[in-house]
Symmetry: C2
Subunit: 395 residues, 2 copies
């Protein structure tokens, strides 16, 4: 008898790698200036400070042991203190849970908050990492479009009025990925009120909030209601390799996430968690460091937006890039950004077409540009190349 090869689970049917990941593999060519990535700039990461913190952490052998599933105690204390300031209320340590990047918070929350078939409202264009998780959890998805002031609450209201009862509404409240926009303060309050009226959770996904360029980002949505679960991360302000994200949520949510974290991977790394503790607790150093990242990204963002407006004029509408890592460009002249991509790659520039982030809205005339890893001059050259490809296409 020939050996039987066992099958894989049917759960995998329909799961596929994100289009963006596949695109990034194509655009790694040395002659391409990639605005398609979504990475923070490694050159701005505080290598020396991290090395000092690693050294200090390793003087204590207990940092090499397993740690608690909700995170190393001193890290949760530092985070509770920071979030108390941010949320203008005392946040107890029981409401702070450390995850392996905020992606892990999303995936554990999908299990904790969603019954199969539950409704999840996402923004359109959507943060793809969240969308994947909600889909994998078997959720039904409704999409609410963004405008220049963030999620369109008029559309959400209409959805609720028509009888939709979401379990979760997901929002990237500050400097949206990919949309670049920030949720208006009035809308934050209104969204929180809707959550309490209709009894849904808000996941406020906020990895970029500290990366503001001109003025601090508005009060978190979590300021307005206990129905808000707030996520953030050290990846964009310190370094992704530390894999330290965190969640501020009601105690019962944290307890449920703890049960799942035990099965998912037992616990995080006491070593990288102590490094993050050390850096976050060093307030003066941290302020100066984050400031230097803001200054660098701010000037790159400005250079990119200026170049886009100079080269494309009325043919596009672009976000202002007031913070974060991305500029969203909408072609008013009917350009199809999927169709333009091969010519752009030939001309030596890469971007992510809007269609990669679209849920229910047609974003085939839009694109996401990332400004974090190129200097102003390179960004200008990238937009020259893009304009060349665009002009040739319209020839």
């Amino acid at each position: 008898m020939s050996p039987l090869t066992p099958p894989l689970s049917q759960r995998l049917d329909g799961l596929r790698s994100s289009a963006i990941r596949d695109l990034l593999k194509l655009t790694a060519r040395a002659d391409i200036i990639s605005l398609a990535g979504g990475l923070p700039d490694a050159e701005l990461m505080p290598r020396d400070r991290i090395a000092r913190a690693a050294d200090a952490a390793l003087t204590d052998r207990s940092r090499l042991q397993y740690t608690e599933s909700p995170g190393w105690g001193p890290l949760r204390e530092v985070l509770a203190a920071r979030e108390s300031t941010r949320l203008a209320r005392p946040v107890p340590i029981d409401e702070v849970f450390v995850t392996h990047g905020s992606q892990q918070a999303l995936s554990l929350l999908a299990e904790v908050l969603l019954d199969p078939g539950a409704l999840v409202v996402v923004e359109d264009p959507a943060y793809v990492g969240a969308l994947q998780v909600f889909r994998a959890a078997g959720a039904r998805i409704e999409a609410v479009p963004l405008d220049a002031d963030g999620m369109r609450l008029d559309v959400l209201r209409e959805l609720l009025a028509r009888g939709a009862r979401p379990a979760v509404v997901h929002t990237v409240s500050n400097f949206h990925n990919p949309g670049g926009v920030t949720l208006l303060p009035e809308r934050r309050r209104e969204l929180a009120e809707l959550a309490e009226t209709y009894g849904f959770w808000i996941i406020e996904d906020d990895p970029y909030g500290e990366l503001w360029f001109d003025r601090p980002s508005p009060e978190p949505v979590a300021t307005y209601s206990p129905n808000v679960i707030r996520l953030s991360s050290s990846s964009k302000i310190l370094a992704p390799a530390l894999r330290v994200g965190w969640m501020v949520a009601p105690t019962r949510v944290c307890r449920a996430v703890e049960l799942l974290k035990q099965g998912a991977d037992l616990c995080g790394s006491a070593l990288t968690q102590q490094i993050v503790t050390d850096l976050l607790a060093d307030a003066e150093w941290l302020a100066a460091h984050v400031d230097s990242v803001r200054t660098a990204y701010g000037s790159r963002a400005k250079a990119l937006v200026d170049a886009v407006r100079a080269r494309f004029g009325d043919a596009v509408v672009s976000t202002d890039a007031a913070g974060g890592m991305f500029v969203w460009v909408d072609f008013a002249d009917g350009t199809d950004t999927d169709a333009l991509l091969p010519a752009a790659l030939d001309a030596g520039v890469a971007y992510v077409p809007g269609s990669a982030f679209a849920v229910a809205t047609d974003y085939s005339h839009a694109m996401r540009l990332c400004f974090t890893t190129s200097d102003a001059e390179t960004l200008g050259r990238a937009i020259d190349r893009l304009a060349g490809a665009h002009a040739a296409g319209r020839g």
Copy 2:
């Protein structure tokens, strides 16, 4: 209208923290010698070597960036080379996948291999971390008892003959947690044959294989069939805080796990993965280091087993502790180890009662003892205390 508080998912019903975790909280008192834990000894972890590796890793800023979901390339290469030696065949890098400890491999594999309601065969007593994951995935569980030579294949054969068609059989092949025993070489071959006859996956969970005391552990089950997915980890030989485990599996399994890892937490830490790469690649240092851990654990294991046999004589049957971290003690005199526990704690010694690991077999007369974190003299004192409590109970 009063604000509505949203509910949590019904999926959480029935999920609870493991009895062992709750017990460990009780036994953290300073006057108790705990043989209840399951941790490697932090004093034996190579702190200085890790500090050097961290320093070296941090000379390259790219180590601070996100890394690939299947793991940092050079780590997968080192692991592929090591596993090629262990499995006596060339293991390509595509068959190596790095996880956040081997617990994450278990939880991702449960999704990749199991449809809801699928049958999983576990050993009895069971590794609780695996049992939790399979239960959370909605699997039906059948348990096959251990004897002194590992999983009883006569019982598994009988199960298969009665028509049971498992999707997965899980085995801790070397120095079982909690059972202490090692699967006999003939049984490994036979188990692999059954997997090919009936078309099931074997998950060979092998965190302890390198911690042998007198002679190397037998050839892995994975030597005998491509239906075997082999898990191991750096936690027991280097340090748990690095959170580096790995899996050797057919390419299609690795690809499916990669899709899920993207949603679960994007990627591991390039920093701790480079530290592990550095240490595993330093063959001479590693051999000496692992040897020193073996020597220390081996003498502790012997001291514990000698003390148990000296104090309890014919009242118990104990494993020999030929490797790993645990001794399993079976009371032949009818002692109920759950009932004995309060008196043992009063006498200043803690253990985990067999019932905590039991699936379908009555292990109420057994206990798991961990010898890793106490010296020989302390282990002797612990067994004196246990014998005192036992004698008083039988008064």
